[in-house]
Amino acid sequence: MAGILLAFKDYSPFRGFIDSPWVGLKYFKLMFEDAEVIQVIWNTLQISFLQIFFAFPISIILALMLNEIRNQVYKKFLQSVVYLPHFLSWVVVVGITVIFLRSEGLVNTFLINIFDMNAIPFLTDPAMFKPIVILQVIWKESGWGTILFLAALSGVSPHLYEAAVMDGASRLRQMWHITLPALKSTIVILLILRLGTVMDSGFEQIFLMLNPFNMESGNVLDTYVYFKGIQQANFSFATAVGLFKGVIGLVLVVLANRLAKRFGEEGLY
C-alpha cells in the first residue's frame, strides 16, 4: 500500500519516491480549498444514489419478469436481447444519445411536428443531465444486471414451487414468498458492494456527456480529477483523491454491513 503515501508527497518520478518531498496534507487541502469540490462531491453522490434507487431495482424487476416467461425459446430470445446494450461502449451510447436528443434530433423533431412544442435543449440544460445519465445506465446495464439474479433463481428448488401450487398460492404470492427471498442475499451483497463505490460514477459516460452548459450539474469526482490531475500528470493529486474516495467507500461499506447484520442478513464478512 506504499503507493498511498504518494498522496502526502510531491511525487516526481525523476526525484524518486524516497527523495520526493513530504507535503503532508497539501493535496487534500488543495482539493477542499476549491469551491467547486463541494458541488462535485454532491453531484457524484446524487448520481450514484439515483442509480441505486432507479437502475438497481429495475434489474431485479426485469429478472422477475423474465423468470415468469414460460415459453423457453421466447425467454432465451428476450434474455439475449436485453444483454445486447451492455456490449456497446459508452462512446457509441453517448453518440446515439446525441443523435436522438440534439436540437434537430429525432425526439425534438417529433415534439415540434406532432405536439407543436418548442425544442427542448436536452443536452445543454443542466436539469436534464442527471435524468439522461440515469436513463442511459438503465438502458445499457439493467439487462446485464439480471444475470446474477437469474443465476441465483436457477438455484431455487422446484419443490418449493410445487408445494406452493399444492397450497393454492397464486403466481404473485409465489413470487413474493419464494422467488424474492431467494434473491435476498444476492441483493444485499450487491447493494453493499455498490455502496462501497458511490464515489465512482462512470468516468467515461459522464466525461462524454459533459459540456460547458451542464458542467455545474454534471461534473463528478472522476472527471474533476481528470481535469485537474491526470491531464497534467499530477500523480500525487490523483492519489489523494483516490484515497479520499476509498475512505468514504470503506465507511459506507462497514455501516451497510452492520445494518445488514442487524436485519438478520449474513453480510459480507
Binding site: L66, Q79, A151, L190, A238, G242
Partner: protein, 291 residues
Amino acid sequence: MFKSTGRERVMEVINNIILLLIALTMLFPFFYIFSVSFSSVSDVLNSEFLLWPKEWVTDAYSYILGSDQFIRSLFVTVYITVVGTFVNLVFTSTMAYTLTRNIIGQRTIMFLVLFTILFSAGMIPTYMIVKETGLLNSLWALIIPVAISPFNLIIMTQFFKGIPEELTEAALIDGANDIQIFSKIILPLSKPALAAFGLFYAVGHWNSYFTGVLYLNDPAKWPIQVILRQIVIVNEPNAALGGHAAMLEAIPPPETVQMAAILLATLPILIVYPFLQKHFAKGVMLGSVKG
C-alpha cells in the same frame, strides 16, 4: 402444468408485451448501427437519420477487413478471452470455495478482499508490478493481473454458501476430502453461477482496452478493442487548449466504417452467449419439467 386463473393470464400477457417493448428499445440502436454500416458515405452524410440503407454497400467492411490488423487483433482477443476466462474461473472458484470453509482468519481475508475493491491501486503502481514481473509485452499481462476480480470472488463465495451444508457434510462423513467435495459436489451444483461468472469475465476480457495499450508494445499483439477505439474515437486535439496545429491531422474515418467496426468487434462475443445459456437455463428447466 400450472392452472392459471383469468387474472393471471392477463398479467402474463401484459408481462410479455412489456418485455417485448423493452427488447425493441434495446435492439433499436443496433438496427441503426447495422443500417449505417451498410450504407454509402454520402447517404449517411445527407440524411438526418437512416433506418434502412438506401442502397446496400459493403465498402466499410472491405475497408476494415482489407488490413490484416483487424482480423489478427480479433484472434488475439479470442485467445485472451478463452485462456483468461479459464484462468479466472479456476482461481476464483477455488478461492471462493476455500473462503466458505471455516478457516481461521476467514473474516479478515474477506475484509482484505473488500479493501482491494475500495482502494484500487492506480495505473502506475500496477504498471510497475507488471514491469517487475517481466510480463510487459506478453499477453499474460492482460490475464494474470486480473485473474481474480474481488467483486466476483465475493459474490461467488455467497453462491457457494447457498449450497445446502447437508450435502457437503454427508460427503465428509463418506471420507471425501476438500478437493473431492469441491470438484464432485460444489462445482456441478454451481453450473449456472459458473456460467454467469464465466460470462462476466469473458465480456470483461473482450472489452478490455486500456491494459492492452498500456502493457503491449507490439501492435501485432493488440486486442480488438484497441483497434476499434482508434477507428471510433479519434482523440481530437482540444483546440481551445492550443491544439490547432494538429487540428487537421486527426480527421476520423467515415461513420460507416466506425459502425461496421463496432458490429464486427461485437458479434463474436455475442455468439458465445447461447452456449452459456444452456447452463443458465438448466436449473430453471428442471423446475418446469417437474412442475
